[in-house]
């Protein structure tokens, strides 16, 4: 009985109105962040790229944190001019499942030039895949900033997690390689669906 007043007070509390559209103010920034992390075509290969970064030397791992978001930025920018994801870019993005999945599965440190080349190439293609040609002015800038932020955050978290797992846990390398095998398997299945199912 002592808390009856408190209960009534709680019931009388109003709900949030949420009256404003998410597309105003920073809305497109959030759209940019969410696009790659909610699209499996990007999220899964990015996961593999992050894991691969953790398998490299500290120097290369750190380089990936900067290089990948930078190349994604270039891709998103050019992609908007080209009108979005084009055929060969889609194919390369599809191949990235397999390439990075197999590289993580093999769990071998890569040659510096090869690693930088792969990150650059697929950063640009995934940037193009995330581009949005229908946004103009400030909204486009916000969207680009969102995609690049997502790329940076994902790389930072994944490279760090992968590196720590491998260095600190006995089972870490096995877990990372197993994830690589899953990603390679998904890539095989998705590539098969994209090219075989259309032909059947």
């Amino acid at each position: 009985m002592k808390y009856k007043g408190l209960l009534w007070f709680g019931l009388l509390l109003p709900q949030w109105a949420d009256a404003h559209l998410v597309s105003t103010r920073f809305g497109e920034f959030y759209a940019g962040i969410l696009h790659p992390v909610t699209t499996l075509e990007h999220m899964v290969p990015w996961l593999a790229i992050g894991l691969l970064g953790g398998l490299q030397s500290l120097k290369l791992g750190r380089l990936a944190l900067i290089l990948f978001p930078l190349t994604v930025l270039i891709g998103v920018w050019f992609g908007a001019d080209w009108g979005g994801e084009i055929g060969w870019v889609k194919t390369l993005n599809l191949l990235s499942f397999l390439i990075f999945g197999v590289l993580v599965l093999m769990a071998k440190p890569l040659n510096e030039v090869l690693f930088i080349g792969l990150i650059t190439l697929f950063g640009i293609t995934h940037g193009i895949g995330n581009s949005a040609s229908d946004l103009v002015g400030n909204q486009f800038m916000l969207y680009v900033a969102g995609v690049v932020t997502a790329a940076y955050l994902m790389m930072t978290l994944l490279v760090a997690a992968s590196h720590q797992l491998i260095q600190q846990q006995l089972w870490g390398a096995v877990a990372v390689r197993a994830l690589g095998s899953w990603i390679a398997a998904v890539g095989l299945i998705y590539a098969g669906f994209t090219y075989f199912a259309a032909a059947v």
Binding site: L40, L105, S181, W182, V186, L188, I189, Y190, G192, F193
Partner: protein, 204 residues
Amino acid sequence: MKIVKTNIYRVIAVPLLFVSVSNSVFAHTETGVAGGLISGFLHPIFGLDHLIAMVAVGLWGAQLNKPALWLLPITFPVVMALGALAGIAGVKLSGIEIGIGLSALVLGAMVLLSVRPPLWLAVIMVGTFAVFHGYAHGAELPEAANPLAYGVGFVVSTGMLHLLGILLGVLTRWPIGRQAVQGMGGLIAALGLYFSAASLGFIA
């Protein structure tokens, strides 16, 4: 008397409150990403023939120890994906259900008898059986609402079932645990025999 009345009210009020809570409707069928991902994830779990074979891979890997412990669960999804490709491409492959049943029977028997073949042979056995499981999934893939999400779902689910097998296989560190794991192998083999017999038409 007053105290008794208060208690009765409380006793009645709580069930009444729960009865008055409405359920979610779930009026919409699964579509899009959720449908593909969830149905792909649940397929190996709700398909008992898939489930027992995939757990058996983990159990056998744990019995064989390193490097089979990680090599078998890594081989299975990759080769399974190749089987899925055959299913997607519409390659005619007969005896898929028999192959899946046999996979549980043979892998269960390996665990039951604690068989230790050379590593290459274990990998070939697991890889061969993975083709049948992959084909069954792949054949359904083009019908999925979101094929990529469906593929991600069943690959992750397969990996988790291997992990479950490996975790159960930790029991092999203790003498009684080794017997328990062999017992699980026996159960899997018995179920595999049932599925094999059913797919051959011996059981209705």
